[in-house]
């Protein structure tokens, strides 16, 4: 009898113990969560909450006493802006799981095919919980009910306060579509500025950068003559299929916009039919005919143009501001070239297409930032927003991870010499923060992780960016920030979904043919009308106006 009593007691104790273990691991316990998130230390690179401002520390380490449950496991779909497998994705995700307490499964297609795979994944019906989407896709999928509306969650979040404190909330507000917010940007959108090789300028005896199109074109002609090259400037495509369409040839497009936009009176129009677009096409054609614009821009991938710039085949290159300024400089220097670049302020005629109408200024286009979206198949969207998306901009350890990566893999504070025995040798003292050598392309240092420190929407406590951001990157970014106009999100309609594939293909074809001199502008627009594309465009405009 006593044996039976003892065994019953032992069983009861064991059950109670197991139940206790389960309770301790309950992710819905806010106290347990805050301990996990706030207790980690990432060494010298970690944030010191005692020094961080109050709102930052609160948001990064505490969970308000609400009933938002932390998800145990989520699946995310990301492009190449998150570390790829070759660049230490496993280490990054392991650290992220440690900081968030969420098991994260990653789907990461090839960067260039990302949106093709997203389309297939969505059509297949097996949606990830979270995915990165560009503005056009976000608008389309949002209108079709694929994406969870995070407007309320954001409005009631600490994240909004932190972004407001850092002048970052406006970026989020510009992403609202009819009162809905389908995605959370991690940074400002950023955009492209025009880089000119200083050596080429010197060789051509050009002492000041152009301020208008005539001067710009004159500069291209002089550079061609001085260097004896085939062409001076190129881009990946004369017209891109995705917004912001024209940002690689801003000087030629100027105020033209090849797609749909909302006019000041609130009605919608297709900029492709306007005179500004016709003039832009004529300028491109002239550039190709004069041998300053590379005709093979028609078939180049972005990497082709970069490589041509790095191997000195080109001297002018419109590309991303910020850290890309450093990448461009380093890659040119790695090829034995002078890496000094002159960054051009936008010429007078560059009004960022129709975007300029929104605030009357103009300049380069600050694109709508890609955003982190939560799908409606996600079982716990509030939890994912709070513990994954909001944590990404917590101003503390998790934001640090998304900004600089993992200690020992992407950055370090150890005393060491990188690229020893080369002319690019860099020596760092103990405790000095520095980015490490790129795992995939040895010879160049990492500059950032997913969040560009210069574009962050929230302040990062103990941000080492003063030591990591190179002066040329900072200069390019500041020039862009001072001379750019925010883009806007175009809503999606059935007519757009139905017709825009055909329409965009035709627009690209016509612009290219005119640029290559195979067709005049008049012939192009005659074809546009006669083959029904003008009608197609009007149907989309009507559908946008009917919304």
């Amino acid at each position: 009898m006593s044996k039976k009593v003892v065994s019953l007691l032992l069983t009861a104790t064991m059950v109670a113990t197991l139940a206790g273990c389960g309770g301790g691991g309950d992710s819905s316990d806010p106290a347990a969560d805050s301990g996990t998130e706030g207790g980690s230390s990432a060494g010298a690179g970690s944030t010191d909450e005692s020094n961080a401002d109050e709102s930052t520390a609160d948001a990064g380490t505490e969970t308000p006493a609400d009933d938002v449950e932390k998800p145990e496991e989520i699946t995310i779909m990301v492009d190449g802006t998150v570390f790829t497998e070759e660049n230490g994705r496993d280490q990054f995700m392991a650290k992220l799981e440690e900081l968030t307490g969420i098991k994260i499964n990653v789907i990461q297609p090839d960067h260039d095919a990302y949106y093709d795979v997203v389309g297939q994944q969505i059509a297949g019906g097996d949606w990830p919980d979270v995915l990165i989407l560009a503005s056009t896709q976000m608008s389309s999928y949002g209108s079709e009910g694929v994406l969870w509306d995070m407007a309320d969650a954001w409005n009631n979040s600490e994240l909004k306060k932190r972004q407001e404190a850092n002048n970052g909330a406006g970026v989020v507000e510009s992403m609202f579509i009819d009162g809905h917010l389908y995605g959370m940007p991690a940074t400002h959108g950023n955009g492209c500025v025009t880089y000119v090789k200083q050596k080429w300028l010197d060789d051509a005896g050009i002492t000041s950068l152009p301020t208008n199109f005539d001067e710009y074109y004159d500069m291209l002609l002089k550079l061609k003559e001085a260097e004896g090259v085939d062409y001076v400037v190129a881009a990946s495509g004369f017209l891109n299929a995705e917004a912001p369409y024209i940002n690689y040839f801003p000087e030629f497009y100027q105020d033209a916009w090849p797609s749909f936009y909302q006019k000041e009176d609130g009605t919608w129009a297709d900029g492709f039919a306007e005179d500004s677009m016709k003039e832009a096409m004529r300028r491109l054609a002239q550039g190709v005919a004069d041998g300053v614009v590379d005709p093979e821009s028609n078939s180049y991938a972005t990497s082709d143009v970069r490589n041509k710039f790095y191997d000195d085949s080109l001297g002018v290159f419109t590309y991303w501001a910020g850290t890309w300024a450093t990448n461009i400089k380093n890659n040119c220097e790695n090829n034995g070239l002078d890496g000094t670049m002159a960054v051009m302020p936008p010429i007078a005629e560059v009004t960022a297409g129709v975007q300029g109408q929104h605030d009357g200024n103009g300049g380069y286009i600050d694109r709508v930032s890609p955003a982190w979206c939560i799908t409606t198949q996600c079982e716990n969207p509030e939890g994912v927003f709070k513990y994954f998306i909001e944590a990404m901009q917590d101003g503390a350890d998790t934001q640090f991870l998304w900004t600089y990566g993992v200690e020992g893999t992407h950055w370090s504070t150890a005393a060491e010499t990188l690229y020893a025995d080369t002319e690019n040798a860099k020596t760092y003292a103990e405790g000095e923060f520095h980015m490490l050598d790129n795992l995939e392309t040895p010879g160049s240092q990492y500059t950032k992780a997913h969040i560009d420190p210069m574009l962050a929407l929230t302040a990062l406590a103990n941000d080492p960016r003063e030591t990591t951001v190179a002066p040329e990157a900072l200069a390019a970014q500041e020039l862009f920030n001072a001379n750019s106009v925010g883009a806007f999100v175009v809503p999606s309609t059935d007519a757009m979904n139905q017709n825009n594939g055909d329409l965009m293909t035709e627009k690209q074809s016509l612009v290219t043919k005119v640029a290559l001199g195979q067709m005049t502008v008049e012939e192009a627009y005659e074809e546009y009308e006669s083959q029904g594309y003008a009608q197609m465009s009007q149907e989309i405009v009507d559908s946008l106006n009917a919304q």
């Binding site: 389309g119 056009t136 896709q137 999928y141 079709e144 093979e296 028609n298 074809s509 290219t512």
Partner: protein, 311 residues
């Protein structure tokens, strides 16, 4: 009588149960991978974006398709490019096979064969990159530089072969000949190897030279094989994607866009959610045309191959 027949069939199945058992995996495979996906055909008659439930629209997608200029352009491009490519590569394969057959030195013959087979194993992406460089209008383009150096072209008027409608197709055919001729010679070489050497000896006794032997023995012996190859490949002319996709660009879509790339652009070039109903309709139309071609080819095949069809 009927009952007896049924029993007889069952008895046969039982007798050959081992064979039926071996056939079972193939049957299941065919059902799952060939026939089950055909259920997707129904989307051609719906408005379907892959997210919301499809809504029945009858033949609207087909009416829209037939009204689209780009569709018809892609359709005729597919037919023209495929057939010309087929005829050219087959003709070159026959010529190369006959020439190879004339080589007496076995080692040299094998080396040549191996060299001309190799391009077949190169991916189309790599092939496109190589020929983009070779045909580039810049000073790094091999062909243009050569033409400039021999005085055919002026340095300022080089030809953008892959970016001009007039030149794209000739360039495409040449690239295809370079890549596929070698591989296609395999089947012709096998036929040539099977020709009775007595015929050549008899012809030699009759005073026939090399050219006469080729004309009166080799070529007639190859004729059936040539027709078979053409007929078999004719049934596949609608399936043209990779080679056209990697070599085309925005400047040449009027001559280079084929049905499968048209479907691709419809799906991925809108920046928004494609109508899979429409793209399925285009795919279904393509399959129907392909099906008709198979039946026509089958008919021809029976005539040419003495009653043996391809299906």
């Amino acid at each position: 009588m009927k009952e007896k027949k049924k029993n007889n069939t069952m008895a046969k199945i039982y007798k050959y149960r081992g064979f039926y058992l071996m056939f079972l995996p193939v049957f299941v495979f065919a059902i799952i991978f060939f026939y089950a996906p055909m259920l997707g055909i129904r989307y051609a008659f719906t408005d379907y974006n892959g997210i919301k439930e499809p809504t029945f629209t009858g033949i609207q997608n087909f009416l829209r398709m037939f009204s689209m200029h780009n569709f018809w352009s892609a359709f005729w491009n597919t037919i023209q490019i495929s057939i010309i490519k087929l005829l050219l590569t087959t003709a070159f394969a026959v010529i190369v096979s006959i020439l190879l057959n004339e080589i007496a030195n076995l080692l040299f013959k094998k080396v040549v064969q191996t060299i001309i087979y190799l391009p077949h194993f190169m991916s189309w992406v790599v092939t496109a990159s190589i020929f983009s460089l070779i045909l580039s209008p810049s000073s790094s383009g091999l062909v243009n530089t050569f033409l400039v150096n021999i005085g055919v072209l002026d340095a300022n008027s080089t030809i953008y072969f892959l970016g001009t409608s007039k030149w794209w197709r000739p360039a495409y055919y040449i690239i295809n000949i370079w890549k596929e001729t070698g591989w296609q010679t395999v089947i012709f070489m096998a036929t040539l190897a099977g020709i009775n050497t007595d015929l050549y000896e008899a012809a030699a006794i009759d005073g026939a030279g090399r050219w006469a032997k080729m004309r009166y023995i080799t070529f007639p012996q190859l004729r059936n094989t040539i027709l078979t190859v053409i007929i078999l490949n004719l049934a596949k002319v609608m399936n043209l994607f990779e080679s056209a996709f990697v070599l085309q660009n925005n400047a040449v879509l009027d001559v280079a866009n084929v049905l499968e790339t048209y479907i691709y652009y419809q799906s991925f070039n809108s920046g928004s959610i494609p109508n899979y109903g429409y793209t399925t309709a285009v795919g279904l139309f393509k399959s129907l045309v392909g099906c008709v071609l198979v039946l026509v080819c089958n008919h021809w095949s029976k005539k040419v191959r003495e009653g043996r069809g391809i299906v």
